[in-house]
Amino acid sequence: MKEYLAVTDGGRRINPQGFDQQVQGAVAQGIGYGLMEEVLLEKGRILNPSFTDYLIPTSLDVPDIRSLAVETVESTGPFGMKGIGEVGTNAPLPAVAGAVEDALGSCPGVAPLDPGRVLRAVENREGAAGTAAAARRSRTHKEE
């Protein structure tokens, strides 16, 4: 992921830095949810209960996150605020899913869209013709 723009309506913004902190943190967690994180369960037992096997985003998995606020005023909220703590987690998965659909014509309806799932989606789309073309590209590359 090269860059990320978050435009968020949290109502009135009292602490702009705090607002951006929450948005950026939530977006990173949403990226993890959408692209990396999967609790593997077997008969009620978690198979990946450590950071080795349950991958959360590192500084290399998240781009610079630019946060813009749409400041509405929520009349029923304290000082016109809504809330900002978690809403940023919602968008990364659909954003990436939209990109995958745009590229491939369809998107696996499962999260996370980890590299294996996306590769299988690419392979299924390309089919036999795609496989042959990929093999030709691979040979040309080696000859170079």
């Binding site: 950026q24 990173a28 080795t52 500084s59």
Partner: protein, 158 residues
């Protein structure tokens, strides 16, 4: 076994078993609770300390390994009331939320800045890739390290 080492600039002597985990030695025997244990398995980086100036995971070290070494924990970074430039930058740039990753993140950043000129934002991200943070999404941490590095190079105000 007696272990002699320099801790945050002070000569220190402890009597402990040679296989005592360094995180426990620092936190429980020496009261330096700024050293955090996030996973205890070398995955998260929260336990990062400096040993002879290099960032190391204290949860993967045994007491015998620090014999004769210079150890720096987060408590040893500030000079009295004066924060280290990296600490100041973290405060200014909003790089701290819950703070649990922060000691390890700051020490990794110190090691990075002292050993890599620049560094670029991409190099900062790579240098901090062993320190997990769940709160910040890393952008403001990178901002802080970039600013601290500039200040430590003497480039004007942060």
């Amino acid at each position: 076994m007696e272990i002699r080492f320099v801790l945050n600039g002070r000569n220190t002597l402890v009597e402990t078993s040679p296989d005592r985990k360094v995180t426990d030695l620092l936190r429980e025997d020496l009261g330096l609770t700024g050293v955090k244990e996030g996973c205890g398995a070398g995955e998260c980086g929260a336990c990062t300390i400096l040993v002879d100036g290099e960032s190391r995971l204290s949860c993967l070290m045994l007491a015998a390994q620090i014999e004769g070494r210079h150890v720096t924990t987060i408590e040893g970074l500030a000079q009295g009331e004066d924060l280290h430039p990296v600490q100041e930058a973290f405060v200014e740039h909003g790089a701290v939320q819950c703070g649990f990753c922060t000691p390890g993140m700051v020490l990794s950043a110190v090691h990075l800045i002292e050993n890599l000129s620049g560094p670029t934002r991409e190099e900062i991200r790579e240098g901090l890739s062993g320190n997990l943070c769940r709160c910040t999404g890393y952008t403001m941490i990178v901002d802080a390290v970039e600013a601290a590095a500039a200040k430590m190079r003497g480039e004007g105000s942060s």
